[in-house]
Symmetry: C2
């Protein structure tokens, strides 16, 4: 924390608490770059007795001195130190240098994650992540959504399937929520427009660069909108956040060396059938009704470029709560960035008899969903929404190719620590 | 969603999507109160053919009509309906009337929670809760904290003890996080000031009106501040949020019939020893070092009134990471509102040798905390912070006496559904 009397002006007194990113020793002067609350400050030490204190990278320090404005220091000023104290001294040689050009392995960095997070690129990534979280909420609050917090310990699988972490809840079997799906749907009944940003848990055996066992999902659900109107909201949200970042956080984008994303006027919207047709013409034979595979999305995503929607998927590829368009297709969509799926959404079934039919379609028992079905008998509005992967979005914005780089303490099949 | 052409002016055309809170039928006119996105709108139906549609409480509807400004309707206007459609009709008689003066049991209401949330008091409580979440974040963002998201699936108990939900993480044993404690502490190393609002999980066998098995915790952690400075931040945050509510959300406070909270200039700060002395003089004999029990806090809380701190607790009553003041006391505090504990916090140990000693003090093995100890060898700054119960704070603000009333889908020993 920098405390500058009279502000950042030449000659003002200042105090700084921070940690040492780098030490550059010259014959008559030592330069320290100190991070104080995620901003770099240059300290200049000229007194011989202060120079001999043996201040090293990673030490936490307090210093006092005089501000000198100068172009050669980060942020246009440095502090000429008159007094300095080490508050916490490194007790071992660190496993890697946080300033090194060559990175140690991701595994080693994750073992020492708190130290790894001191790398300037990481400071920038997670400062940006925090800002982006505020921008998402700003968007929803401005559109009159209510923020909700739904339970993460649940009795029934919302999507069915095996990808659940089971736990003992006192004397009962329970699961970790794969998504807030059923809760956010129910909540449109009283609140009309809801959103939540929180953890979701998937016990999938994936070992890809895009999957985690614990991820942060942004969920939104709205009454009275149709499939294309829901896509409008999602597209508007993505554009709002990206524009906000480029307006306000250019410095962070530059420090991360993130690619600048072109925002088209409108994200193209392809039906699933149009994509299948393109795959048949350009990649390989694919039957209408088959799921799109990684290689198909790579080809089609490369062809389209940035953001695009694939809508009206076959019903059989979608969960029980998705609204059928006809016997074969559904009112659903995915938002893609090149070959990365960022979001899935659509219109939902709001009629209880149809919802029971939906459950049976995918082989789930309406009995297991007794409590979820209850409110549907009392005027559940037509509704729809989407789930959006915050970590995946951070990959797109920062341009990193491994999702573990944008999550503080990633969880996957192999990693449960620190 | 209300779409009013030319705004809310007499004679303007409007469309409304919403659900019916109440129906009042007179001979020549039907009045509907409709909730559209958490606001009440009065619809007036005078055409006989529209009156005969049999529109009931809880139906979701669409209507079109003409705005008439009037003092007798909520928000100063009503809509004279020219066209109305039912979008979702109740298919069963509801288990309770959402407008009834007499409430059905909490258990019944929680079984039908999505319907119960349509009660006007609940609409107001959860609208306010969403606003309060924004105010908390506003406060921290304005103080230059970074928002973090830490894992909820963890390998080691942060507080030790039995109150953990175990789960199978692929082929490993894991637990649900009781708090972000160890992570937020580590994160001060790179980010200096961090906060998180997220779920915590406690397998305590409590059946009180103030405990849940899954709760929302607000956690903040800061480098370089001492115990009293950390209390300053917490006190400042509480005051900021309460003032914001009274500035902006008077209407919600009135609809909830919440008591208005007096904010003193400064929350009194008592040492644990002062409180023990008072208990000895006014309630019963209590030894220095014993924990304060519910009856002690009721008596002392009633004596003090609103908010107050109890600080410098005996070390043996606090977790391993709390910084000792001497052999007996610690740099710790609780924030209380009358007899309700809202927050616990304090200075933490930042020296690795001392932290190992702390672990041994409470009978935990440093081996189990291997990954947490790692960063402490590389210049961990002095730091401290607090955890703050968002649900408990909502009890205080709304004046309800059961925590289940301010949580959408509460989880306790007996309840895992819906």
């Amino acid at each position: 924390m920098l405390i500058a009397r009279n502000g950042i002006v030449d000659g003002a007194e200042a105090e700084v608490f921070g940690w040492v990113l780098s030490v550059r020793e010259q014959k008559t002067v030592v330069f320290l770059i100190v991070y104080e609350n995620r901003r770099q400050v240059q300290l200049v030490i000229k007194e011989r007795k202060l120079m001999s204190r043996g201040i090293k990278q990673n030490a936490s320090i307090w210093a006092r001195g005089t501000i000198r404005t100068t172009d050669r220091a980060p942020n246009g000023f440095e502090i000429h130190v008159s007094s300095i104290k080490v508050l916490s001294r490194p007790k071992k040689l660190p496993p890697f240098n946080i300033m090194a050009a060559e990175l140690p392995s991701l595994d080693l960095r994750l073992d020492y994650r708190a130290l790894d997070l001191r790398r300037p690129k990481n400071i920038a990534i997670f400062t940006l992540r925090s800002k982006i979280l505020q921008y998402f909420r700003e968007y929803f609050v401005s559109k009159d959504f209510v923020e909700v917090q739904t339970p993460k310990i649940i009795a029934t699988a919302s999507e069915g399937g095996a990808a659940l972490f089971p736990l003992m809840y006192y004397d009962k079997q329970a699961f970790l929520a794969q998504s807030p799906q059923l809760y956010k749907e129910e909540l449109t009944m009283a609140f009309e427009r809801v959103f939540e940003i929180g953890p979701i848990f998937r016990a999938e055996p994936s070992r890809t660069l895009k999957h985690l066992s614990e991820a942060i999902s942004l969920d939104a659900e709205m009454a009275y909108l149709n499939n294309d109107e829901i896509m409008d909201v999602l597209e508007d949200m993505v554009k709002y956040v990206i524009r906000r970042v480029y307006e306000r956080d250019r410095d962070l984008i530059e420090r991360i060396r993130a690619p600048v994303i072109d925002l088209p006027d409108r994200f193209p919207r392809y039906t699933y059938s149009e994509v299948v047709k393109w795959i048949n013409e350009n990649v390989e034979e694919l039957q209408e009704g088959e799921d799109l595979q990684a290689k198909h999305l790579e080809a089609f995503g490369g062809h389209v470029g940035g953001f695009y929607f694939i809508k009206e998927w076959p019903l059989k590829l979608k969960p029980f709560y998705i609204k059928p368009k006809d016997d074969f297709y559904s009112y659903s969509f995915d938002l893609m960035y090149r070959d990365t799926e960022l979001s899935s959404g659509g219109e939902r079934i709001h009629d209880p008899a149809m919802l029971r039919k939906g459950l049976k379609r995918v082989g789930l028992s309406p009995k297991g969903f007794k409590y979820h079905l209850l409110p549907y008998y009392y005027g559940m509005p037509p509704h729809g929404g989407f789930g959006f992967g915050v970590d995946r979005f951070m990959m797109v914005i920062t341009g990193v190719d491994n999702i573990r780089e944008v999550v503080l303490y990633p969880r996957d099949m192999r990693r449960l620590v620190p």
